[in-house]
């Protein structure tokens, strides 16, 4: 809408360049050629960034398809599926919620990683879905961002006993034998799937 209005104003100046002769016309042209295009481009860029957080957006890449399917596995041990199916994370932004960094500039870093993914997808050699690895070990900070202080988390004695080790990443939530089944896309062929009701 905003971009459309901007286009109409620019088209008026292109069609009637004599407008720029008067003082009012110069102000109009400045708004149409500088202020509005910059403002609308910033607005459009923010729309793009917001859209790139959506689960559907992440799953548009073919390579991510098994990861999308893993969210519907009918098995309580599948961590990602349980978070998705029980709405422990916003389902519309499921991938981003767990795979962003909850730190200063974490969103920016996540977006730059996304650009790298696009580069690999179109100009590099994309790996098979099973061989995709995280850039660095999963940080417990991302789990504790939501779970720390939650009743269900604190009522588990193991959590409270090793809380300091969890906070310092000495013990990993995912790879220490506690919650080690996350996406496991290699075994999806043997699994049953849950169908959400429309």
């Amino acid at each position: 809408m905003f971009l459309g209005i901007c286009c109409v104003l620019i088209a008026i100046v292109i069609a009637r360049p004599s407008l720029t002769a008067s003082r009012e016309g110069k102000i109009f042209t400045f708004l149409a050629f500088f202020v509005l295009p910059v403002a609308s481009s910033v607005f459009a860029a923010s729309q793009h960034v917001e859209r790139s957080k959506r689960t559907a957006f992440c799953l548009t890449c073919h390579i991510m398809e098994p990861y999308g399917r893993s969210l519907l596995v009918d098995d309580r041990n599948y961590l990602a599926a349980q978070h998705f199916q029980n709405h422990r994370i916003p389902v519309e932004e499921a991938c981003f919620t767990c795979h962003t960094d909850y730190a200063l500039y974490g969103d920016v870093r996540a977006k730059f990683r996304g650009l790298r993914h696009i580069y690999i997808q179109y100009l590099g050699t994309p790996p098979s879905p099973e061989s995709i690895k995280l850039y660095s070990p999963y940080n417990n900070r991302e789990c504790l961002h939501c779970h720390l202080g939650a009743r269900s988390f604190q009522s588990n004695e193991i959590h409270t006993a090793i809380l300091d080790s969890l906070k310092s990443n000495e013990v990993s939530c995912l790879t220490s034998g506690c919650h080690d089944v996350v996406h496991n896309v290699g075994t999806l062929g043997k699994m049953k799937f849950w169908s959400p009701q429309p």
């Binding site: 100046v13 050629f33 295009p37 860029a45 548009t60």
Partner: protein
Amino acid sequence: MKLSHMGVQRAMQFSGVLILVGLLTEIVTLVWEKPLAFLVFVGIGGGLVIAGILVYLYSLVAGGSGTSASTHPSRD
């Protein structure tokens, strides 16, 4: 380099076309829901808008004395 009044208008029209095409490209990328859309948005849409704005600003600077020259034809 100084531009005449007509030159300024032509430069502005040209910058307007660049910005217009850039903004239309941005609109298309907002409808196109693919990761590649963001690259097209930045690379083509953003590039054309920035190029158009630079041409517009140049026409303002270069045409500043050109506009006054049109009021003083003897200087041409």
